[in-house]
């Protein structure tokens, strides 16, 4: 494992060799790793970022990828800004991570958040330079994930914790061309990016501006061999006429529950591929993958002594202890990531059926819509702000396209009638508020007016964990 010795991303990917044959393809541009030997995407001006806390806020994934390659071990901290981060959260992120430099790929970069003095442009047009990429920093990689209040949680990893599930070096056989439907600034996408780099492969990066069909055609054109996505990504891919434009050797699912139907559909569509579904979370890291084509995972994975990843089930949820878990949260929110024994509670609820465990949902009613988490409290707060609403319960509804949808049960202060508006009008008004205040995937697909909601003796809404 070349990365385990504390080597930088650049030194580890270089150790896997064959740099001139390995390419990162974006939608509009590409860079061969060999180009970076005597060149730089940051004009070689790494000194300006040495020891800094750098917000990597690029539009394209390719420029983000280049910045990460060049700045690991050089910067003190790299904050991976996902493309859809609402601008209003940027000052919080910058302050919590004490950001003092910004990497952008815009021709005229926006001024950074307050206090950010250095703004550096990153470009796929590699300038000739002799950058000094060795550094003494064990760079913190900060990933953003959704929080209860809508404010992102900031999760601290290192290259070592992120790459703990990977074997370094180039495997024998044909070189791998990796790809993923994910953005590489999300944990699931970053895993694939690092697998490509550390394992001696190339990678086709996705683009938010590109249709599923165009992406599949482009990935197929570059000869993709290994490709990952959420079950929702894959359902969408299988609805594309371009699904057969790729012929991968390895198909990976993560980020949502993989049901038997999607595993079966993928096996039919890609008969030559090894199909694996993995469990990983931003906080707990990669725990395991399952390659037997069946939903759920073997019960024998729980409670193994001496394994790299130790797992147990407590109060119904999966707990994970390994060197791949995140170190901590930034920004003083969220408390410790692991308990006193080093176990991270994933909040994913398990049910044992025979000799397998199956995921049945999330504790606290958290809803996973196509890989995007929805905290019910955030949606309920918007609904409850309507003057006619007494209380509401936001819950999950299973869906074969996105895994789940958000629906809401709403108790009104009085029965709908001529005095306070008819149910149709109220539903419309509540929906409108939700659409104005929330991301699209958080807006309830349906509102049901109910006469009462179950409340615990402690006065809390009864939430079903599944």
């Amino acid at each position: 494992m070349p990365h385990a010795d504390g080597g930088s991303l650049w030194s580890s990917l270089s150790a896997a060799g064959h740099l001139s044959e390995r390419t990162l393809w974006g939608a509009d541009a590409s860079v061969t790793l060999g180009d970076l030997v005597g060149g730089s995407s940051l004009s070689g001006r790494l000194e300006l970022l040495r020891g800094r806390s750098v917000l990597v806020a690029t539009r394209d994934q390719l420029t983000a990828a280049l910045a990460l390659i060049e700045l690991d071990a050089v910067a003190r901290r790299l904050v991976l800004c996902p493309p859809d981060l609402p601008a209003e959260h940027l000052p919080f992120v910058a302050a919590a991570a004490t950001v003092d430099a910004l990497v952008s790929d815009r021709a005229t970069p926006d001024a950074g958040p307050p206090g950010v003095g250095t703004v550096m442009t990153c470009t796929p047009r590699i300038a000739s330079a002799a950058p000094e990429r060795t550094g003494r920093y064990q760079t913190e990689w900060v990933l953003l994930t959704s929080g209860t209040t809508g404010r992102p949680k900031m999760v601290v990893h290192t290259l070592s914790s992120l790459s703990g599930a990977m074997r370094g070096g180039r495997p024998s056989g044909e070189p791998a061309v990796w790809s993923t439907f994910y953005d590489i600034r999300r944990y699931g996408g970053l895993q694939i990016f690092l697998r490509a780099l550390l394992g001696g492969g190339s990678m086709v990066l996705s683009s938010a501006d590109e249709s599923t069909g165009d992406f599949l055609i482009r990935a197929g054109g570059h000869g993709v061999t290994h490709i990952s996505g959420t079950p929702s990504h894959w359902r969408r891919a299988l609805m594309s006429p371009a699904a057969h434009r790729i012929a991968p050797r390895y198909v990976r699912l993560s980020g949502e529950i993989a049901d038997q139907a999607i595993l079966d559909h993928l096996r039919v569509c890609y008969p030559e591929a090894r199909i694996a579904h993995a469990f990983a979370s931003t906080e707990a890291g990669v725990a395991f993958d399952v390659g037997d084509g069946l939903a759920g995972f073997p019960a024998s994975l729980i409670g193994r002594e001496g394994a790299d990843v130790q797992m147990k089930v407590e109060n119904g949820s999966l707990r994970i202890r390994s060197t791949r878990t995140a170190a901590r949260y930034l920004g003083g929110e969220g408390g410790p990531i692991a308990d006193g024994d080093g176990f991270v509670d994933t909040g994913d609820m398990l049910e044992r059926r025979g000799d397998r465990y199956h995921f049945v949902g999330r504790r606290g009613g958290i809803i996973n819509v196509g890989g995007l988490k929805v905290h019910p409290e955030e949606v309920e707060a918007v609904i409850n702000a309507h003057p006619q609403v007494r209380m509401s319960l936001v819950r999950t509804r299973k869906n074969p396209i996105t895994g789940a949808l958000v629906v809401a049960d709403v108790v009104l202060k009085s029965e709908p009638g001529p005095a306070n508006g008819r149910a149709v009008t109220l539903e419309h008004e509540i929906m409108q508020r939700c659409r104005e205040a929330l991301s699209r995937h958080k807006v309830p697909a349906a509102i049901h007016f109910v006469s009462a909601l179950a409340v615990t003796p402690g006065g809390k809404l009864v939430r079903h964990d599944a």
């Binding site: 299988l238 609805m239 594309s240 396209i401």
Partner: protein
């Protein structure tokens, strides 16, 4: 039991309704329209499938054995016509 014609019109009505709600520009609805080119994303399609389950009482995606994922609107309508039969 819904007739074949009414299944078709219910499906197209849902497409138009969800497109309107989600402020998406819907391509002209024809049987050979590729769903991913319809102007609707996965979230829109998910909402359509949920509402059709409420009105038709079937979810052919979850119940169908070995059913292929629909690629065109025609495939999608046939899936519901077969399930509602």
């Amino acid at each position: 039991m819904a007739t074949t014609m009414s299944v078709r019109s219910m499906v197209t009505a849902r497409f138009e309704e969800v497109a309107r709600e989600q402020k998406k520009t819907l391509a002209p609805l024809a049987d050979d329209l590729v769903l991913l080119d319809s102007g609707l994303d996965s979230l829109c399609l998910a909402i359509i499938v949920a509402r059709l389950e409420d009105s038709l009482g079937v979810d052919p995606f979850s119940s169908g054995k070995d059913a292929e994922f629909p690629v065109t609107l025609g495939d999608f309508i046939r899936l519901y016509e077969d399930a509602a039969r």
